[in-house]
Each structure stands twice: as C-alpha cells, then as structure tokens.
Amino acid sequence: MTFSVLLQSLVSGVLVGGVYALIGIGLTIIFGVMRVINFGHGDIMMVGMYMTYFLFTLAGVDPFVSILATMPLMFLFGAILQKIFINRILGSLPQNQILLTIGLGLIMSNSAMLAFTSDYKILTTSYSSSSFNLAGISISQPLLISFLITCFITAALYWFLMMTDTGQAIRATAQDREAAQLMGINVKWMSILSFGIGAAMAGTAGALISPTYYIFPQVGSAFTLKAFVITVLGGMGSIVGATIGGVIIGVVESVAAVAISSDWKDVVVFTIFLLVLLIKPSGLMGKSHM
C-alpha cells in the first residue's frame, strides 16, 4: 500500500464519515432523550431519500437545496411518529420499544414499496460523478459539499442544544428524565422535539447521500446498523461523540478496505465496536450527555 493510496482512502473515509455522522447524530439524540434504540432509523432516512428524489425529479430542486424542505418535513414526520406511537411506550419494557421501532420500520419500507415499487431510483445531478484533484488525491464534489453541510448542521445543532433554553431542557431530559419532570420541563414535548430532530437529521443524511447513492425501499437497514455502531462508538447521547464516531467509521471502513481487504472491513468495524463497548462502554466521549 503506497502512501497516496492511504491518503486517498483517508480523505474519502473522512468525507463519507461526515454523512455517517449525521445519521449517528439523529440516532444519538433519540437515544439520549428517550433511551429507545430506534431500529427504524434507517427507514426514516429512506423516507428522506424519497422526498429528495421526488423534489428533484418532479420539481427540479437540487438535492442540496432540497434540505431546506426535507429537514422541516422530516422533523414533522418524526414528531408525529413520536406523538402517535413512541410516546405511548416510553417506560415500558425495553424489548417492546425495540419491537415497536422494528414494526414502524417495516411499515415505512413496505409502504414505500407499495407506493413507489421496489425499483431502484437513481438521482443523477450534473455533479454526481464529478471530482477535482488535490495533490494527487481525488475529491468528490458532492461528497465534499455534503461534508461541509454536515459540519454546518452539526455546529448549528450543537449551538442549539448548548445555548438555547429549549436545548438545555432537552439536555436536562436526557440526563435525568424524572429530575427534568420535577423541574417543570415538559418531558413528553421534549421527546417529541428530539425525535423530530433525530428524524430531521436522518432525513438530511438521506438527502445528502442521494446524489451519489441510490434509493430503494429497503435501503435503510444497512444504515441502521451503521448508525448503531457510530452511536455506541461515540457514546450514546453525545453529539460530538457521534460526529467523531461517524468519521472514525468512515475512515476505518475505507482504510481497512485497502490495508486488509474489502471483504473483512465489516469485521474490523464490528470488532472495534465491541472493543470500545468492552473497554469504555460509555463510548469515546464518555458520559457527557450531549
């Protein structure tokens, strides 16, 4: 493995990792506040992808611009899911929470299949396969743009949670539900907000990945698993952790593919995941709840 190969895989790993991070952030917020592992997370992302696709093909909205519409819509979608379904089972048995999100995921992906058929949809923009060269390293334009957008969104979200009253209320809820309730925070409302934000993040990730990937009803499951890994790696409930976790996974996948081989890269990823769980179960970013 030459140095340039390594550098190339590092760069593309970081860029892809940015999008992973966004998926992870969505999951981590949901988990942090509600302690529910959302098995339907990838399917929520899939909804965002279809939204982006139809905005592009029917209205001609560029995928990156469409985030402006996708994000609020997905927020609403997540909030409704939370209000109607998840809120009912908060505090019930953990296995039921897992199962409910599995069920909701099945409903989402199969409704998509009925509505849009199981065909692969490909969103081709003028820049889908364009790249530029930087010191012998090729950098994909759409990936770079989505990486920058991810950075911006992450920063904005961080600011929201740290600096605004609502953000602090969400963090308080994440730290200790009961205490937050005693302090007069409307915990149910915070749950709705955070599921909304989580869904918006997943949807945005879907939008960002659309120009370089493809869309079909079952696309979510692979990303759900990835989101789990990222979230645990960074520390459940930690936004900074999820960001770092996303980039780490992106890089590990990319470098393992060249350093070991592409068929074993998932094993490397999962092994790192297990090691982190065992050595530092609270994740890389420790116990900081967001």
Binding site: T2, Q8, M113, S138, D266
Partner: protein, 384 residues
C-alpha cells in the same frame, strides 16, 4: 381452545375449493415479490404478466398462481409444496433467486412437477441430475466466459482485477472468471469482494488503480454498478476495458448515466436489439406497458412462462407429459433458440448463447458474438 380455533381455521383455509377451469392450464409462478431481492423480482413479474397476455392472444388461457417467496428458501419450499399438492399446477416457473431455486429443485423431482428456472445463475441447480428441473438462462460460468471471449477477439490482455459483490452470483461468476483467465494466461492483480450496497468503494478502487490492470472485471447485481463506475471515474481508474458481469451493468438506469456508462461492456442473457424473433417488439410493448425498459430478467421470465404454458397446454396439464414435452421440444422466441440438453454435467440446461453489449453513444449495442452484433466493439476504454 385458541389453538383449536386456529387449527380449524387453518384446515378450512387449506380446504378452500380450488377453482377448476377446464379450459385453462394452471401454472405456478414463484417469485420474490417482497424483501431485499424484490427490485429485480419485479422485472420477472412484469415479464410473466406480458407472457400471460400473449398466451391469451394465442388462445391459451393460463390460470396463474403467483407465489411470493420473500427470497427465503423455506418460504419458497412452502410455495412449491402448495403449488404441487394443493393447487395442482401443471408446472412451475421460478423461483427467481439461486438460493430458493436450489432449495426447490429437489422437490420438483419428488413431486414430479416440471420446474422451469428462468433466471437463477447458480450452476449446481441443473448439475444434480434432476429430471424435472429445467433452466432457461445460462448459468454463472457463461457470464464471465463470454466476456473473456469477446475481449480475446480484440486484444491479448495481461492483467485483470476483480471487484465484485459478496453474493452467490458475484462470487460464483468471479470464480469461473478466474479459472478461465488462468487458462488464458491473464494475471490476476486484485481480488476485491464488497458487501452489496456499500456506499464507498473509493479506497478499494484506488488500490486497484495502483496495480494498473488491463481489465477491470466487475460483478454487481444491483445499482452498485453505478456507484462503482462513478467512483472509478472520480479516482481516474482507466483500464483498457471495463467488463461487467450481468445484472447491474445491463439496466436502463446504468445506461442513463451517460458520463460513466459509455464503453462499458457487459454480459447479458438478452438485449432488446438482438435479432431473436420478437425481441425488439417485446421490448417496445414492455416499455409501453410498464413505463420502463425490460431487463434480461423480464425477457427470461417471459420466455420461460411462454414455454411452460404452451407445453403444458399442449399436454392438457399432464405433468409427466409436460416434462417430456419440455425435454423434447425446441423453441425459437425472444430468447433465441431454446432446447433443454444434457452436456458437461448439466441436465436439462438450455445452452443459451449469452451476449455482450456495450454502451455506445447512450445506447446498448450488442457487440458479441459477431452473428448477433449490431455494432463492432469499441476498444480500448476511454472516459467520456
């Protein structure tokens, strides 16, 4: 109590009167309608739908019993049992996936129900000597050999790199490709398997680029083909030829990606411009009906259903006679000449001529073998 009710209900359901239509011929069709394999399964469904219409025009009424196997072998078995013993079909077309076909094949012999596999590529399916199992499409080894043969008419390449999905289709196609390449003295410089649906191949492709192969051989069942080619272009991997084994490289979606699909060669069971009887017409009608272009899966399923229904109808739905009819018959339709022969360890295998197509100026052109070619191949590969 509950148990009894359910049992009773199950028995009632099982004994629902199977409608009997004297004039109709009853054919089963096992396909993957839901689940992860559904996107391709849909093409088979469409092909069969067209076949049923065309059969009606020919005066053959088919009572089609559609079964979804969700891509799982045990469900496929259940579907087959149901078709064989409850629906009393004359023959079965399907299943779509290799895994399901492998599981179902042995049952076909057990129940003596003719099974015509339309598109599953796993070689073993017709290598077990089953009398009632027939296959229309060419098995996995031909996907690679036809491509190599095509390249050999143009050049004598020295090195080859493989990148393929870690599925049955991917690994068995590449396995045969490797054997064939070895025989031809082409040196393997990279062997990269990937998990279907991976979003990022850049590092793997960079690694391949550093080996500078003459040929890049790819197998991808789905639209990973597009991701692969997009990223190959991105990092500037330019071998003398990109060869795509089947599926993912033969879709309309791939074609539509003009920037990256140009000059890629792919092996396929069928093309819409091949001069087999009715092929272009089928493509036209299919496109009009389903608003998308037919894949070779659709064509295979169509032809398989035509052959099965015609044979069964001729033999009044008798399974043994239908089986003998399939074994003895010869057809010439949209898949070219079809007959089920025993050769090289295969039983009842149609020695289907696979084709090589190349994207030229935004169109799929058949470039190999020469007698079916619409355009000569363009070589070597250059990015647009």
């Amino acid at each position: 109590m509950l148990r009894k009710i359910v049992l009773a209900a199950a028995i009632t359901v099982l004994s629902l009167p199977g409608a009997s239509y004297a004039a109709k011929v009853k054919i089963g069709f096992i396909n993957t309608i839901t689940g992860a394999e559904a996107p391709i399964g849909e093409n088979l469904t469409n092909g069969v739908t067209m076949a049923i219409e065309d059969l009606r025009k020919k005066g053959i009424e088919v009572d089609l019993v559609k079964e979804d196997d969700t891509g799982k072998p045990e469900k496929s078995l259940a579907a087959f049992e149901k078709l064989a013993t409850r629906d009393n079909v004359a023959g079965v077309v399907g299943p779509y996936t290799s895994a399901c076909s492998s599981a179902v094949a042995s049952q076909a012999d057990k129940y003596k129900v003719p099974l015509l596999v339309p598109a599953a590529a796993k070689e073993e399916i017709t290598r077990k000597g089953y009398k009632y199992v027939f296959r229309l499409n060419a098995p996995a080894d031909v996907y690679s050999s036809v491509l190599m043969d095509a390249i050999l008419t143009l050049d004598k390449p020295k090195t080859i790199a493989y990148i393929y999905e870690s599925t049955d289709f991917g690994s068995s196609t590449v396995k045969t490709a490797k054997e064939y390449a070895k025989k031809l003295g082409i040196k393997e410089v990279a062997d990269e398997k990937y998990q279907k649906g991976a979003p990022d191949f850049r590092s793997t492709l960079t690694k391949i680029k550093s080996k500078n192969p003459d040929i890049v051989f790819m197998v991808s069942y789905v639209v990973d083909a597009i991701t692969l080619m997009r990223q190959s272009k991105e990092i500037g991997l330019s071998p003398k030829a990109y060869l795509g084994g089947g599926a993912g490289f033969t879709t309309a979606q791939f074609l539509a990606q003009k920037e990256i699909s140009n000059l890629v060669m792919a092996s396929t069971q069928w093309t819409d411009d091949v001069n087999w009887p009715g092929a272009p017409d089928f493509a036209k009608r299919y496109t009009a009906k389903f608003k998308k272009e037919p894949t070779y899966h659709a064509a295979c399923a169509y032809e398989a259903m035509m052959i099965m229904a015609e044979t069964a109808s001729k033999n009044a739905g008798d399974r043994d006679k239908t089986r003998n009819g399939l074994k003895a018959g010869k057809w010439n339709g949209i898949m070219g000449e079809v007959s089920f022969a025993d050769y090289d360890g295969f039983t009842n295998q149609n020695k289907h001529q696979m084709l090589v197509q190349q994207v030229q100026n935004g169109r799929y052109e058949t470039v190999f073998p020469k007698k079916f070619a619409t355009k000569p191949p363009v070589y070597p590969f250059k990015w647009k």
